[in-house]
Symmetry: C2
Subunit: 320 residues, 2 copies
Amino acid sequence: MSLHGDSILAVGTVAFDTIRTPFGSRERVVGGAGTYVGWASSRLVKQVGLVSVIGDDFPAEELKQMESAGMNLDGVELRKGEKSFFWSGTYHMDLNTRDTLVTDLNVLADFKPVVPASMRSAPWVMLGNIDPKLQLSVLDQMEERPKLIVLDTMNYWMDSALGDLLAVIARVDVVTINDEEARQLSGQRSLVRAARYILDLGPKYLVIKKGEHGALLFQKSDGDGLEFFSAPALPLEEVVDPTGAGDTFAGGFLGHIARCGAVDFDTLKQAVVVGSALASFTCEAFGTERIRTVSDTELMDRVETFRQLVDFAPIAVPVV
Amino acid sequence: MSLHGDSILAVGTVAFDTIRTPFGSRERVVGGAGTYVGWASSRLVKQVGLVSVIGDDFPAEELKQMESAGMNLDGVELRKGEKSFFWSGTYHMDLNTRDTLVTDLNVLADFKPVVPASMRSAPWVMLGNIDPKLQLSVLDQMEERPKLIVLDTMNYWMDSALGDLLAVIARVDVVTINDEEARQLSGQRSLVRAARYILDLGPKYLVIKKGEHGALLFQKSDGDGLEFFSAPALPLEEVVDPTGAGDTFAGGFLGHIARCGAVDFDTLKQAVVVGSALASFTCEAFGTERIRTVSDTELMDRVETFRQLVDFAPIAVPVV
C-alpha cells in the first residue's frame, strides 16, 4: 500500500451483532466500530486501512466487499480456529437506550493491534470505539504525528478504564462522545461546561453526539471562550436500528476532513454535517445494510436537506 | 384601545411563582403564562391585550411596568379580597424535569375570561397555557376569525381535559408543545409521526419545543408529506431557571409573525428563531428578571448567534 494524502488509518472491531429493536431483529449481522468507520470513510477517501482482528468465522465474501469499497485489510489479523467478536443487544422503545445481552470477546480478548509498516505514516487516524489501551498502542506505532487524530469512545471505558482513556484523550485532536458520556466524563450537567472540561484534557475539538437531537461541535477560542456549531438531526419517520450510527458519524466526519485535507473549524463544521448525514442512513436499516449502498447523489441530497432544515431568512431589528 | 394591525390578544395566567432550582430559589416572584407571553410579545408589537385574572395581592407597580411595556390590561380582572394564582415547584438537577409542590388556584378557580369589546377583532391570538375550556371561551368571544391563532398547552391538560383540549386544537392554526407532550398526545415515538398525527387534528403548523435541544417546526406539504424546520438551542453555560421559557417562546413566536403581518412557512421559521432567542434570555435568570430588560441589540445579537450556530459552507460532491 502506497499512501495517498487522504489515507485514513482506523482501529476498531470487525464483528458480528445480534440486534433486536421494536421494528424487528437480525441474527449475527456484520458490525463493529471498525466496520462502520470503514464503510463511512471509504465513501469519501481513496484508502482506509483497518486495524482489527477477526476469527475464521468471518465471511470471506464480506472481506471482499470491504476491499472493493476501498478498505485495506492488511492490518486485520485473521485468527484460525477462533471466533470473531460478538455483541448482542436489545433496544428499548425509545431507541435511545439499550440493554447488552451478550458480549463475547473471543479474538478480542488478547488482541494486540499491529499497524502494518505501510500505514504507519497515515496522515489521518481514527481511533474507533475500543479499549483505550489498544487505541494508545496504535498511536505508539505511528512513525510521525498524524495531521489529525480522532477518538471515539463510550461510557463503558469511563467506568472500566478511565486512566487509560484519559491518557489517550490527552494525545488526540478530536473527541467524539454522546451527551450523557460528556456529562459523565466531566461531572458537569451543562454541555458548555462539559465541553470546556473535556477540552482542558487536551483535545482541540470536541463533538457531542445527541442522537435524534443532532450534534454539537466545540473548539476553544481566545481566553476562556468557546466556539460552537450545532448540526440538526434529520427528523426520521422511523429509526430502524441505531447500531453503528456513532461509528458511521465518526468515519464520515474524519473522511470529510481527510478528503478536504484541511483542519480548521469551517471544515470540521462541514464534517459534522457529512457524518450526521451518513449516520442518518445507517439508522434507516439494520446493520450496514443501508450505509454500504448510499450513492453520491443520495449523500449530497441529504446534505442539502440538512442545510434547508436550518435555513431561515434574515430577520430585521424590531422597532416597536 | 383602538386596534393596530399587529395587535395581539393573549390569554394566560398572571400569577406568583415560588421556584427552587439547583442555582437558588425565589419566593413569590411574578410569573404566569400570560405574563411571560406579554413580556416577550410586547417587545415586538405595539399592543398586547392580556386576558387574565388577579387578586388584590398583585403589586400595582408590576401592573404599571407591564402597561409601560405595551400590555393593555383592560382584560385583566382584579378581584378584591382574593388571592392571585400561586404555583411552587422544584427543578431537578437536569432542569428538564420538575416537581410541583403547590398549586393554589385562588382567583383562577372560577375564572370566566372576558375579552374586552375593543379586543374582539384582534388579528393575532395567543391561547397561552391554561384550561382549554378557557381557551375555547376566548375564541368564542372573537367577533371575526383571527388571522392566526396559536395554542400553547401542556401534559396536565392531556391528562385531565383531553376532550376540551382536542376541541380547541381543532380550531387553532398553530400548536406549540414539548417533545414528550407530542409523544403523549399522539401515542407515537417518532416526532415525525407525532407531527403528522397532531396536524391531522386540525392545525396547519406544529412547533415541538425540545428545551436544550431546540425546536422543530412542521407543516403539511402535498399529499402525506411534511416540511420541517429545525432551530438549535443556544448552548448555555448555565440555565438558571427555565420557568416561563415555553411561554416566552410562544409570545416571541407570535410577536414576530404579528410584526411581519405574514403567515407563511418562511416567516414562521424566523418566528421560531426569535421565540427561541427570547426564551434563552428567560432561562438566564429567575422569573421575568432577564426577559423584561432585553434590548433590541441584545435580541438581534442573539438571533445572529443562532444563525452562526448552524451555518456551514457549501459541501462539494465526494469523488473518490
